[in-house]
């Protein structure tokens, strides 16, 4: 474990923020106070954090409908995000976008996206911009095992290769696209990375429930893509989603005991805690203190979201070049 104590604490805190943010949303959505469609990232935290801990604000990411984790990991403000999801005009997107459209361009977060497969072409453009600027920055697109079947994803992979875009395709394989299993929907024998390879990219694979696997894999991937002349790369992380596809999904497609099993054995936070305490680099008290601090930060974000200004009818007509 080459990471410093500070870096480890930071990574754990980032993952914990995402976890508690999502757990809290899961609870608050039951009350009916939060509108719209919400897709929770719980279970996949190690991917977002293992990727984004390597990035600076100049590096760009493009996200998905399941975007809260990517946003938080890239540095979006917890309070601004909670307010957005609650539909406040003080939210990161003034209550106009909601859960599926959180963006913070200044942070290099080019947007969650409601259209499956829409993100990758955007990341090709951002990756070409990085190449032109020549400062070693990269653009990263997150896609699911469902999004990898979209023509836009195929086009983006080929175009990234031929333009030598500084783009990284991160595939988060959580085994399901909505209610459909990846064994049915992905034709390449349970394997997404091999597709990217066929497009001419160097590919990596890692365990998306293990922060260290993601972090170390990404170190190599980033070193490769940041090197001028190399062009894009792809990586597939095997991971789990702990909640339904969207809030309200009865999840009848899961096997008996599946949710308990993945919560028990495939929980990136539990795995992290075990690794660092077994290795004696952090102790439980360090992590418990962070847990408490994070819970309070999430509580505060909800307090703020509930108290924040609501948008008004006039707000409908702003932020568009012309409205009638």
């Amino acid at each position: 474990m080459q990471l410093s104590r500070e870096a480890l604490l930071r990574a754990y805190r980032q993952m914990k923020v995402i976890r508690e943010f999502e757990e809290r949303l899961h609870t608050d959505i039951q009350t009916g106070e939060i509108a719209g469609f919400t897709h929770l990232y719980c279970g996949q935290e190690a991917v977002a954090v293992g990727v984004c801990e390597h990035l600076s604000v100049e590096d760009k990411i493009v996200s998905t409908h399941r975007g809260h984790g990517h946003c938080l990991a890239k540095g979006c403000d917890v309070n601004g995000m909670m307010k957005e999801i609650w539909g406040s005009r003080e939210g990161l997107c003034k209550g106009k976008g909601g859960s599926m459209h959180i963006a913070d361009i200044d942070k290099g977060m080019l947007g969650a996206n409601g259209i499956v497969g829409a993100g990758s072409p955007i990341a090709v453009g951002a990756g070409i911009a990085c190449k032109i600027d020549g400062k070693g920055h990269v653009a990263i697109t997150f896609s699911g095992d469902g999004a990898c079947n979209q023509g836009t994803t195929f086009e983006a992979m080929n175009m990234a290769v031929v333009t030598k875009a500084a783009t990284i395709f991160v595939f988060e394989n959580n085994h399901y696209s909505e209610h459909t299993g990846f064994e049915y929907a992905v034709g390449t024998q349970r394997d997404i990375a091999s597709r990217a390879e066929a497009f001419g990219m160097k590919v990596w694979r890692g365990d998306g429930t293990d922060f260290f696997s993601v972090f170390e894999t990404m170190r190599e991937v980033l070193e490769y893509v940041r090197t001028p002349g190399n062009g894009p790369a792809a990586v597939e992380f095997d991971t789990e989603r702990f909640f339904g596809h969207f809030e309200g999904d009865p999840q009848r497609y899961r096997g008996p005991g599946e949710l308990d099993r993945i919560r028990e054995f495939r929980d990136c936070l539990k795995n992290f805690r075990k690794s660092v305490t077994d290795a004696g680099v952090l102790d439980h008290a360090d992590l418990d203190a962070l847990d408490a601090e994070v819970l309070e930060a999430i509580e505060e974000s909800v307090r703020q979201a509930k108290a924040a200004d609501r948008p008004t009818a006039e707000d409908v007509l702003t932020d568009v070049y012309i409205s009638y």
Binding site: A35, G36, F37, G87, S88, R89, C93, G95, K96, G97, G98, M100, H101, N113, G114, I115, V116, G117, A118, G146, A147, N149, Q150, G151, T152, Y176, S177, E178, H179, T180, G181, F182, E183, Y184, A185, V186, P250, Q251, R252, Y253, R254, G255, P256, E258, R310, P311, T312, A313, D315, V316, L317, V320, I322, S323, Y324
Partner: protein
């Protein structure tokens, strides 16, 4: 007549037509649901429950669960239609026409004409549209104005469970590509539905859902119910409204609209899509052109504003036409001069 929900009218009509004609096949994302999962096929249907039970009845060859590949789904529908099948393809959200538009617009819609009439193209493209769920800019749109403007397509917008039945059957048996727009906020609507397995409603025939002498209100889809509510409110004051449910926006029943305006001299058109180049604007222009002499007031279009659909509750409800906004529009037209 039995009572049935709008969504069940979709499923039962598809099932009846699949049983009647083995060339009818369905395809779409999660229309079986559970494929390749521990729960197995039909563990859970599509998100709108508009295909429940079809897989069990008709099997994997005719009920095709697809990957997330809208362009290929629409293209496959086109290829099936050119190969003697009668595909019913589902887009989970109408907004996803963005991903698949070429196959609908440049392929399906144009085959019969471009090929000099040498082919039929019997495909139905079903899609859930409309706002009301705070699903924001990419999952809430009404897209009929885009599709109605495309020569070669027929466009259907049922407002009741009975109309789903009659219009969907007509769509499936039609030899041209038909866009079938189902409003998500109507899926749970219950109503009487004829159980005649031959019940069909011809395209291009609007339905008069309220009759009155003072003003003509034209609409369809979710907003039709809002217009009926306004007509009922005003009836209590002795103001009579003709409420016309278009049922199909292409072909358009010009005659019913013009006949009504000849009597009332006043028109409002209530439309869920943005105002520019809209169905409402189009019908106002039609009436201005063909019933000018009968008009006692300028025709009035009621649309949402020219903005994307916003997320927050307050914003979305300010965005959508409401019963109050429609009533105000009717009063404005009545008060003219």
């Amino acid at each position: 007549m039995p009572k049935m929900m709008y969504r069940d009218a979709v499923v039962t009509t598809i099932a009846e037509e699949m049983a009647r004609d083995e060339n009818v096949v369905c395809l779409g994302e999660d229309i079986v649901g559970g494929m390749g999962t521990p729960g197995g096929p039909e563990a859970i249907g599509g998100i709108w429950s508009t295909s429940t039970g079809l897989f069990g009845k008709f099997g994997a060859d005719r009920v095709i669960d697809t990957p997330i590949s809208e362009s290929a789904i629409m293209g496959a529908a086109a290829g099936l239609a050119l190969s003697g099948k009668r595909p019913i393809a589902e887009l989970m959200f109408a907004d996803f026409i963005g991903v698949s538009l070429d196959q609908i617009w440049n392929q399906l819609a144009k085959f019969r004409y471009m090929f000099g009439g040498k082919t039929k193209c019997p495909a139905v493209i079903r899609m859930a549209y409309g706002a009301g769920y705070n699903a924001a800019a990419q999952h809430s749109q009404a897209v009929h104005q885009i599709l109605t403007g495309m020569p070669g397509l027929k466009v259907v917008m049922p407002s009741t469970p009975a109309d789903v039945k009659g219009l969907l059957r007509t769509a499936i048996r039609d030899d041209d590509p038909v866009i079938f727009l189902e409003h998500k906020a109507l899926y749970g609507m219950s109503g009487e539905v004829p159980d005649d397995p031959e019940y069909m409603i011809p395209f291009g025939h609007a339905r008069l859902s309220r009759a009155g002498q003072d003003v003509t209100i034209v609409s369809t889809g979710l907003l039709l119910g809002f217009c009926e509510a306004v007509a009922d409110r005003l009836a209590a004051e002795g103001i009579g409204c003709d409420v016309i449910d278009l049922r199909t926006t292409s072909p358009l029943d010009e005659e019913t609209i013009l006949d009504s305006v000849e009597v009332t001299g006043r028109l409002i058109v209530v439309d869920e899509a943005p105002p520019r180049c809209s169905l409402a604007g189009d019908i106002c222009a039609l009436v201005a052109e063909k019933a000018f002499a009968a008009l006692k007031a300028p025709p009035l279009a009621v649309n949402p504003p020219h903005t994307p659909v916003p997320f927050a509750r307050e914003l979305e409800s300010a965005y959508l036409p409401s019963v109050d906004k429609i009533e105000a529009a009717v009063r404005k037209v009545l008060a003219y001069r």
